[in-house]
């Protein structure tokens, strides 16, 4: 019954999306004049009810997973009665159908939220935006209902479920996909705004101010999602690496790059009324990238260590949706771009100029990553199978990333509209001197490669340059959005220093230890105390207990495990980490080498934690900026209301 309720809700939500599309489109098209405009009253309610109904459908799916209803195919395929409850719930979205339902649920909930809170946009643009939103959602409902029904029943209930991929049975990963989806879906809202504004030709600073919180929100979630995903890969896969240029990782990086560019250009549009067409274009591109990401991950068309659900039919469905949305949006863009009135002018040496260069460089990195990710697909069509890896991505992206850091350092110091380089010469010299000093220190520390050297040097310079805009300003009265920028830029510098330090200075020790023997890695001495079996809720493991002491200090206890899951039968490696302020010790227990010895892999990774600390700082910067924007809007609205009240009083 629960499954049928869910399915019915899904059909109802699809119907409401169709209503939203038709009524929104007609209302936007005919303005206030024609009879069709009466439909306008339906748009907002349709969006709100659609959101509620879709959330209900998703709740039904979670309920099925909580009860482990094995008569439902999806539950039987992806769950197991013995799984811990939290992973039963997470199982609802840890698979293709469930994650697509989550996607559309977040999207429709966002649509409902826009319909409730958004009052800044002109009514027609609002209706066009909701129509676009309904259009996008409709495609995903069709996808779910016709090719990925999550509520499908089995002819005969299964006796026991298949279980969930053990790699996904990790608390971090359980919440990783929803975080990324909030990001992807936030970009779909930006897309709808862009299409809506194009349809009604109302690309104004008001529009950018309305769109910006959505882009910021999406960007914050993407940042957190990427950071968490990187940390998950680092400790769960046992390779000791934090970025693999895996297609699935690229699938989240590409929308992030586009969203970062959009965020900056929307700021220019909001405060300076320039870059109108470019911002619209980025709105379309950013969502395209999240669709491309979905396509890559969901179609199983590329090799990936974390791709699941290989199904060409679904791949073609998503590809068709991609073509319709992106093609449609680009067609509207092509028709309307020339009618968007020109914005304000600015000189090349100005805040706007720096932001444009930053945008161009971000787009170039995006292009390089996109090409590298899709290249295997292209050559495959020609019958040649290749795989593209770090030897391509590292240098190709660094070529554009390194100059971007320089622009990032200089941009915030420049004034809007027009500036002279001489005015910012002194702060830039300071930052440059710090970069040079860092370079010399790193050189003295013997032998890192050229990229980590540049990374360390530019990271140090950028760290200094990012706090320079605070100089000579009243810190208490500084707008939150400015704080956000400073913290986010500083976060980039911190992350970069972490990456460079890990690449340059990591030490690795691989040994076969008897119980009681000691291995040395960097300043650490690690003693294998014991290896013994332990049992978890749905796995057995061998646990190695190690005592690790840093430079002769108090020993800390580490317990890496080699786990065997029962359902499905699979083995995973659980690394153990010991974190200090200046880095992390990373330990993995391997197989028995020969009866008496155990393989132990140890890494000392100086300052590696800065990578994720930086990621969190970037996200925090986004949160500050979002709060700042919201606060400013509220203030502006209060001022307007007071002014209106005064005018009314005077008129009387």
């Amino acid at each position: 019954m629960i499954a049928e309720l869910g399915l019915a809700a899904l059909w109802l939500a699809a119907a409401l999306a169709a209503l939203q599309l038709v009524s929104g489109f007609l209302a936007a098209r005919h303005g206030g004049e024609a009879a069709e405009a009466e439909l306008a009253v339906l748009v907002r309610p349709a969006a709100i009810v659609q959101g509620v109904v879709c959330v209900f459908a998703f709740a039904m799916l979670v309920c099925l997973f909580a009860r482990t209803d094995l008569s439902v195919k999806l539950v039987a395929m992806n769950s197991h009665s013995m799984k811990p409850m939290i992973f039963k719930l997470a199982g609802a979205w840890g698979n293709h159908e469930g994650s697509m339902l989550l996607w559309v649920t977040v999207m429709s909930a966002a649509g409902a939220l826009i319909a409730i809170v958004e009052r800044r946009l002109p009514e027609r643009t609002m209706q066009a935006t909701l129509a676009a939103q309904g259009f996008v959602a409709l495609g995903f409902y069709a996808f779910l209902l016709f090719s990925s029904n999550p509520f499908e029943r089995l002819p005969m209930p299964a006796i026991e479920g298949n279980g969930l991929n053990p790699l996904l049975q990790d608390i971090g990963l359980a919440f990783h996909p929803p975080t990324l989806y909030l990001g992807y879906v936030g970009l779909s809202v930006a897309f709808s705004f862009a299409v809506g504004a194009l349809l009604t030709r109302q690309v104004t600073p008001e529009f950018a101010r309305a769109m910006r919180p959505w882009v910021l929100g999406a960007w914050i979630f993407l940042t957190i999602g990427i950071t968490a995903g990187s940390y998950w890969a680092y400790y769960e896969l046992g390779w000791g690496g934090w970025w693999f240029w895996d297609p699935v990782e690229n699938a989240s990086l590409m929308p992030w790059l586009a969203a970062t560019a959009l965020l900056h250009s929307a700021s220019v549009l909001a405060s300076r009324d320039a870059l109108r067409a470019w911002s619209i274009m980025l709105g379309v591109v950013a969502f395209s990238m999240s669709m491309v990401g979905t396509f890559l991950v969901r179609s199983g068309i590329l090799t990936s260590v974390h791709a699941f659900a290989v199904d060409p039919e679904r791949g073609s469905f998503i590809l068709a949706l991609l073509a319709i949305y992106i093609g449609g949006a680009l067609a509207v863009f092509g028709l309307r771009a020339s009618t968007i009135a020109e914005g304000e002018r600015f000189a090349l040496v100005s805040r706007e100029g720096a932001l444009v260069i930053n945008n161009v460089l971000l787009s170039a990195i995006l292009g390089v990553v996109l090409l590298g990710t899709l290249y295997p697909l292209l050559t495959e069509a020609l019958g040649v199978r290749v795989s593209v890896g770090p030897p391509y991505f590292d240098p190709a992206s660094a070529i554009f990333a390194l100059p971007m850091l320089v622009v990032m350092a200089a941009g915030p110091l420049l004034r809007w509209r027009r500036d002279r380089l001489q005015r910012v010469r002194r702060p830039l010299i300071v930052a440059g001197a710090v970069a040079l000093a860092a370079l010399l220190v790193a050189l003295a520390l013997d032998g890192p490669g050229i990229l980590p050297l540049l990374g360390l040097s530019l990271g140090a310079g950028l760290a200094v340059a990012s706090v320079l805009p605070l100089r000579g300003r009243n810190l208490r009265r500084l707008p939150l959005a400015t704080w956000g920028m400073v913290v986010a830029h500083l976060g980039i510098a911190v992350s970069l220093i972490g990456m460079a330090s890990d690449t340059a200075f990591s030490e690795e020790r691989l040994s076969a230890l008897r119980v009681g023997e000691t291995a040395q890695v960097g300043p650490w001495r690690v003693t294998l105390q014991s290896v013994s079996p332990v049992a978890g809720p749905n796995w057995n493991a061998l646990e190695g207990v190690m005592l690790a002491s840093y430079a002769g200090g108090e020993p800390a206890r580490l317990a890496p495990q080699a786990r065997s899951f029962w359902a499905p039968p699979q083995e995973t490696t659980e690394s153990a980490l010991q974190t200090r302020w200046n880095g992390q010790l990373y330990a993995v227990l391997g197989k028995a080498a020969d009866g008496q010895r155990w393989q132990v892999r140890l890494w000392w990774k100086p300052f590696v934690t800065l990578i994720w600390l930086g990621g969190l700082m970037i996200a925090l910067g986004g949160v500050l900026a979002l709060l700042g924007n919201v606060a400013r809007d509220l203030k502006r609205r209060t001022v307007q209301r007071k002014a209106a009240a005064r005018r009314a009083e005077l008129a009387r």
Binding site: L167, G238, W239, W278, L302, T303, V305, H306, A307, F308, V310, E342, R345, F346, A347, L348, V356, I357, V360, L361, S363, A364, I365, G367, V368, L371, G372, Y375, T379, V384, R385, V386, S387, V388, G389, P390, P391, Y392, P395, A396, I399, F400, R418, L510, S511, A512, A562, P568, Q570, E571, T572, T573, V588, G590, K591, A593, D594, R597, Q599, R601
Partner: protein, 157 residues
């Protein structure tokens, strides 16, 4: 404000932006294509290695089947040697480290690493199937019979 004298005309400014963007995108495309070209031979099966001899020290990816009975553990307890074959050619591989959980003799494997002058492949990283549904797609380049074998070996029982 003396904009027209010092700033660019709007049309020119727009043109300049478009030119900058186009130059950057073209540069990105050129760099990417160039880098991809040198990457095009990143993935090798053993017969490619024998035919094309990738330069020693260059980073490549090798894929094939771990030959049955070829895995030997060195006395240090952490270095293993095995042979990767594709039915026509065989490449000896050395790997120091903890093998992935699903690394099994007779099964498919993909190794990142580099060739040595003496013809041994030194692997930095081994990728085996990651779950019961995962087949390294690169291995599909092998002949149909080998492919069938890989699929049988690496899909769920």
């Amino acid at each position: 404000m003396n904009d027209s004298a010092r700033g660019l005309q709007p049309k020119h400014q727009r043109l300049a932006l478009v030119v900058v963007a186009v130059v950057a995108i073209v540069a990105a495309a050129i760099i990417a294509t160039w880098a991809l070209r040198s990457q095009a031979s990143y993935f090798y099966v053993p017969s490619d290695i024998v035919k094309h001899h990738p330069a020693p020290g260059r980073s490549v990816r090798l894929g094939g089947m771990v030959e049955k009975g070829s895995v030997v553990t060195r006395p240090d307890g952490v270095t293993i040697e095995f042979v990767v074959g594709d039915g026509t050619a065989r490449v000896p591989v050395r790997y120091s480290g903890i093998v992935p959980d699903l690394f099994v003799e007779g099964s498919g494997v993909v190794a990142d690493g580099r060739m040595q002058a003496n013809g041994t492949f030194i692997a930095d990283k081994l990728l085996a199937k990651h779950d019961e549904n995962y087949v390294p797609r690169e291995l599909e380049e092998m002949t149909a019979a080998q492919k069938k074998m890989v699929v049988e070996e690496t899909t769920s029982r």
